[in-house]
């Protein structure tokens, strides 16, 4: 449970730190791109559930 709370906070800090220090971010710099990554994962998990 603790890891689930630390993860998002760390990810937010990494994103903010990359912008503050002007370092390339290991994720899409736009929300649409990140949502597309999420959509691919959801599609993969849906396929996993459908195919058993």
């Amino acid at each position: 449970m603790m890891e689930l709370m630390v993860g998002p906070v760390l990810a937010l800090a990494i994103g903010a730190g990359c912008r503050l220090l002007d370092i390339p971010l290991p994720a899409p710099p736009k929300l649409q791109g990140a949502l597309l990554v999420l959509a691919m994962t959801v599609g993969y998990l849906l396929g996993d559930r459908l195919l058993g």
């Binding site: 971010l25 929300l31 994962t41």
Partner: protein, 75 residues
Amino acid sequence: MSWKFCVGLSLGLAIGLGCRWLGIPVPAPPMLVGASLVVAMTSGYLLADHFIATRPAHHRPDCGGPSGDTQETRT
């Protein structure tokens, strides 16, 4: 929400489904927690961008993943 974004989301879902169906490695984290961390990283980047908008980010084109930018918009 524009129709192009909806088409993109549908394509993302189809790519994920197709990758699982054909047994191809998916170009995204295969777990929902990992994908949520990607969204959280992008959210942190955008939040910081909102607060220091006076200083331009020179390395935005080097950031990973699909940004929606085209070559025309970058130049």
